[in-house]
Subunit: 255 residues, 2 copies
């Protein structure tokens, strides 16, 4: 994996200035990156409880006070400007992909920062486990499943998972290593047999890019931080703002 | 420890019928018992976020939907009748200790079930660690500390801890064993040196009963589920219902 040893603050400033608009994968290595969900306070209790009930797809790094834009995990940052790309959903429909959401900001907006898998990917690579999508410079493959999340109020839907092909001899070690990173989705939710969780064709992911699976490999599935976006869509949530896939908020926390 | 091998359902029914009014310690061994907090929905987001920010004193077992009285951790139970004793607080003041709170129930009440230390106490005893308060048939000693909890909205206050004297040679093992029980407060928050966390006199606990400490023992402190009650008091929360100390809600979950 080619990494860019920028500091989180530098990367956030570049995103704020409109100069950095790409995926944050491989940038600011060693720092915790976060999936983003911003909701009006009227839906915030339901969503917080959804995260509490579904900690594998939605491990909470931080929840900001209503209206606040400065996370304590990144002092001096602005959550409404420092992400390289946003998505705006109304009634479950994607209505925009702005670079900045200050113009939409309301005093009752509550921001949720949710862990992402980059932390355990770093750890796997350091343990000598090659990750196909990183080798090939692609986004990880993500799939909607038939695994029902525990609902909360108006929020319900199925889990989205990411898939990484792992050599059979390495699967147990990968389980152990990823299990140390609860904020990065922890242990896999499913190993092998994609059809059992409703995935008919691994070559056609719902998000991200397909990768090949070799004969000595098994597909290993982790709960994915795109789950809240899919739940917002399938629940027709009145309004929310998320990051654009792959364009994470980079915190100052060490992963 | 003398245990009463009642089933959770039997114990809850006895509490509901007004026949069982004592501490649940030692009853229905092996089942998860819970601290109780019931709040109007207007304060529920702040409290849920308080728990998320303070997982050591407030490990969440379950949060019920607004108005619901039947936990999924105890199907058929009624949270408003099946606890052996309740406490009602208004503006941070204790205003009543009823046996039943159905007469107070409102459709917007949200119930939080918070883990308690009974689970790891069972595990410690099974590992041959004698616990003084259980040997002496007393309630565990609990103290207010100067450890500030992470605030959330209108909620703030200091952590309450429970203390158990542990032989110096056993402290490391006790850390390891209790660490396996995240829903029962996990590892200790402080070991030795009570004055550092603002405890001037171990012989005068703020809740529960004092126990003696032998020369070969160290006081070991765990985050305690009484913390939310103290926070509700010090934050002058408009209204809440809790269990009476020691009189837990007994779930059907295996600890």
């Amino acid at each position: 994996m080619i990494t860019n040893p920028q500091k989180p603050e530098t990367l956030r400033k570049s995103a704020r200035d409109g100069q950095f608009k790409s995926s944050t994968a491989g940038h600011a290595p060693g720092y915790l990156q976060a999936n983003l969900m911003i909701l009006p306070q009227a839906q915030a209790f339901d969503f917080l409880l959804f995260c509490q009930r579904n900690p594998k797809p939605c491990p909470l790094i931080e929840v900001l006070a209503p209206g606040a834009v400065e996370p304590s995990s990144a002092l001096g940052a602005n959550i409404a400007t420092d992400v390289p790309g946003y998505r705006v959903y109304r009634n479950g429909e994607l209505v925009g992909e702005p670079d900045d959401v200050m113009y939409l900001w309301q005093p009752d907006f509550v921001t949720f920062l949710i862990g992402c898998s980059f932390s355990f990917e770093d750890a796997l690579e350091q343990a000598g486990i090659a990750l196909r999508h990183l080798e090939q410079g692609r986004n990880v493959a993500m799939y909607r499943t038939n695994i029902t999340c525990a609902p909360s109020g108006s929020l319900s839907g199925e889990m989205v998972v990411s898939m990484r092909p792992i050599k059979s001899r390495d699967v147990a070690m990968v389980v152990k290593i990823s299990g140390r990173y609860a904020l990065a989705h922890g242990t896999p939710v499913h190993i092998g047999n994609p059809s059992v969780i409703g995935i008919a064709d691994l070559s056609r992911p719902d998000y991200g890019d397909a990768v090949s699976i070799n004969e000595d490999e098994v597909p290993v599935f982790w709960a994915c931080g795109v789950t809240p976006q899919w739940v917002a869509q399938s629940s027709k949530l009145p309004f929310c703002i998320t990051h654009a896939p792959g364009k994470m908020f980079v915190t100052d926390l060490k992963g």
